[in-house]
């Protein structure tokens, strides 16, 4: 295990030692590559049995969800088992305002959806965050279900029929991008199969993927800003030892509520994007199972690690599609994989977050360990 750790640290060090322009170039190249993934359709990664663009959209969307939930669970240490509720509020706000009871454009609906979700987060959190941590789990679970049931039983909002014809983002067709197809490992440019930049239609998921990915990048940046400020410190201190934190001057309740509300807003944003892409939503899309899945993504990714949860979200969304031939056994495999992970890698896929300086201290630790082993 030490050898693997040392290898990654060596790679990381080599990366950090590059001159600044090289780092920026590499980062930009990586980002461009991620955007172009569904166009390039790399042979081993692409999902053959389903639309790769649609799968990538879901990966990006659930990454967004995971980032939001990571703030609640990973940073502030609040166990939220009802996150799908916020997702649903976002989705149905867009549905109601954009389709069933008004025809507001999507770009206006999204901020309203986020505001609505934020308010619901505050309303839920204000009374319940005072309650002990483990109770919070069941209360949030209840909240998620209450939202779904209210939606199911209130025809004005949705009813069992759901809402259809949800608006898509405004389109502006500029040019066409041809996809790349592969035979074996040789690439061919396929002029028949193109994506229009930037047209949000029913058939092509890729522009939606780009939209979701853009939001992921924005949220990642905002997350970084929060983490490296008193907000992130306060959350972490609250998670480590709430009473001690409060005695050190941290208004813990306020920060817990802030984490909850922020997470809610991001959940609402994700729901809004989901609704727009699907164009049709009904309460069956928003069951407890998803809340559980989202929690798994955060914990599997290494709670508190924003990159870890993105990796986990992507993996947990992509793998079932890639291995579709296992279709029926998917959830069984999921269950077994969770148990195995809990036993063999409880810290999650990626280790908990490290600041640059703490990582440097860790590196000297590794060098020392190496010296001792010699």
């Amino acid at each position: 295990m030490n050898a693997v750790k040392s290898f990654f640290h060596a790679m990381g060090t080599r990366f950090r030692e590059l001159p600044r322009w090289a780092k920026v170039l590499l980062a930009v190249a990586a980002v461009v590559f991620v955007y172009l993934l569904p166009i390039i359709n790399p042979p081993l990664i692409t999902t053959t049995d389903s639309d790769f663009g649609a799968v990538l959209f879901l990966c990006a969307l659930y990454s967004l969800v995971a980032l939001g939930l990571n703030i609640v669970i990973g940073y502030a240490g609040l166990l939220d088992l009802g996150y799908i509720g916020f997702f649903a509020v976002g989705a149905f706000t867009v549905g109601v305002l954009g389709s069933s009871h008004a025809k507001l454009p999507l770009l206006l609906c999204i901020p309203i959806a986020m505001a609505a979700t934020l308010i619901s987060g505050v309303l839920l959190g204000a009374p319940t965050l005072r309650v002990r941590g483990d109770y919070l789990a069941i209360v949030t679970l209840g909240f998620g279900e209450i939202i779904r049931l209210i939606l199911l039983n209130t025809d004005w909002l949705s009813g069992a029929r759901g809402i259809s014809d949800i608006p898509s983002p405004p389109s502006w067709a500029i040019f066409e991008i041809p996809h790349i197809t592969w035979q074996g490992f040789t690439a061919f440019v396929d002029l028949e199969n193109t994506t229009t930049f930037l047209e949000f239609g029913v058939t092509d998921s890729i522009p939606y993927y780009w939209l979701a990915l853009t939001f992921v990048i924005i949220v990642l940046f905002l997350d970084w800003l929060m983490q490296n400020s008193r907000v992130g410190r306060a959350w972490e201190a609250t998670r480590e030892d709430e009473d001690a934190a409060e005695l050190m001057g941290v208004p813990t309740f306020r920060f817990k509520l802030l984490a909850f509300a922020t997470g809610a807003a991001i959940g609402g944003l994700s729901g809004a994007l989901f609704a727009s892409k699907q164009a049709f939503i009904n309460p069956d899309n928003f069951t407890i199972i998803y809340s559980v899945l989202f929690v798994a993504m955060v914990v599997v990714g290494g709670q508190g690690n924003r990159w870890g949860v993105i990796v986990a979200a992507t993996l947990l969304t992509w793998a079932p599609e890639k291995f579709r031939f296992l279709s029926d056994g998917r959830f069984l495999l999921f269950g077994v994989a969770l148990m195995a992970l809990a036993i063999f890698r409880p810290q999650g896929l990626l280790p908990p977050r490290r600041t640059v300086r703490a990582r440097a201290a860790e590196e000297s630790e590794i060098v020392e360990e190496g010296a001792v082993n010699v």
């Binding site: 483990d134 809990a342 036993i343």
Partner: protein
């Protein structure tokens, strides 16, 4: 409102009898939480497997319409089958999903992940039960047991509903009596066991201070296994009662019931045995009243809202925490 007033006693008594099911399952959640501070997400599947065991065994012995001694016999067989299998599944769960984590001092969130994984694994195993047989050639005789794995499986024992005696304007049925009666018997036995027996004291000791208990010579591993065993037995009994009332089971029947039972446990005060019992009954009755007042589709909403409201005014639940203390 009229519906509530006119049918008050019916709603109350049937609410109590479904509440009994919740209570018994809630016991499993509260026991494990009290001793391990763990939300045993997979307890719902312990219940579900027990229900299948009862159905399968009763199918195998050819149960159908029955009365009198035959009925008693079938009931006993059913209870026994369900309780045995549930207990076994619970013990297996402890062995495979939780003990390795305990030995490594895993943080609670990780145990929850393992619990979630186990829950999926167990319910999916039941939901895929036809697969192994398909691979080896499905014997038609086995079809009723393992065929159509994702659909309802009906309970073969048909108990003719007999109105036994009136409580005000409601005629209490024999099913109500069986369900409530067996539940009360179980609860009394458990209560006395925890209060008086050596093992029961061990459970309470480990719940309060696990290390001190170990230092006093309590075998923690054994206590924990016992906790799971008791929870399993109770869930198995609840499964049989559930089958008597609802008449079918399916591979994911555990899920909603589990959520409700856990709600009941929290309602009564998690970690508190009597609280779990009270919580179950309160929940069952409140659900019924809620259905009468607002319509059956709002039943579950009532349940959750009740929980939230109680927790707001009494954060430790109706009877507070007691098996073990809250974090000091």
């Amino acid at each position: 409102m009229d519906l509530l007033i006119n049918h008050f006693w019916e709603l109350t008594i049937t609410g109590l009898s479904i509440g009994a099911v919740y209570s018994l399952v809630a016991l499993g959640y509260t026991l494990v939480y009290g001793v391990l501070r763990l939300i045993n997400f997979a307890h719902s599947e312990v219940f579900m497997w027990g229900s299948f065991a009862a159905v399968w065994v009763l199918m195998a012995v050819g149960a159908g319409k029955a009365t009198g001694i035959g009925l008693v016999g079938f009931l006993l067989v059913g209870f026994l089958a369900a309780m045995t299998v549930s207990a076994l599944v619970a013990l297996l769960l402890e062995l495979v999903a939780y003990r390795p984590l305990r030995k490594r001092n895993a943080p609670p969130l990780i145990s929850l992940i393992s619990a979630i994984g186990a829950s999926f694994a167990l319910s999916e195993l039941m939901g895929l039960r036809d697969k192994p047989f398909k691979w080896f050639g499905l014997d038609d005789n086995l079809a009723p047991y393992v065929g159509r794995p994702r659909e309802n499986l009906p309970f073969p024992l048909l108990v003719e509903t007999k109105r036994l005696f009136p409580v005000f304007n409601y005629q209490v049925t024999n099913i109500d009596v069986i369900v409530l009666g067996s539940a009360i018997v179980m609860m009394v036995i458990l209560d006395q066991f925890v209060k008086r027996s050596r093992l029961g004291r061990g459970i309470r000791a480990v719940a309060q201070d696990s290390e001190a208990a170990a230092l006093m010579g309590v075998n923690r591993d054994r206590v924990i296994r016992l906790t799971f065993l008791i929870g399993g037995l109770m869930a198995g009994a609840a499964a049989m009662m559930y089958l008597l009332k609802i008449g079918v089971t399916r591979y994911n029947a555990g899920f909603i019931l589990g959520v409700k039972a856990f709600t009941a446990a929290v309602l009564g005060g998690i970690g508190n045995l009597r609280g779990a019992l009270l919580g179950g009954f309160v929940l069952g009755v409140a659900e019924n009243y809620g259905s009468a007042l607002f319509g059956t589709q709002w039943k579950d909403v009532v349940a959750f809202l009740l929980l939230i409201v109680i927790l707001l005014f009494r954060p430790t639940g109706l009877l507070g925490e007691s098996l073990g203390k809250a974090r000091a």
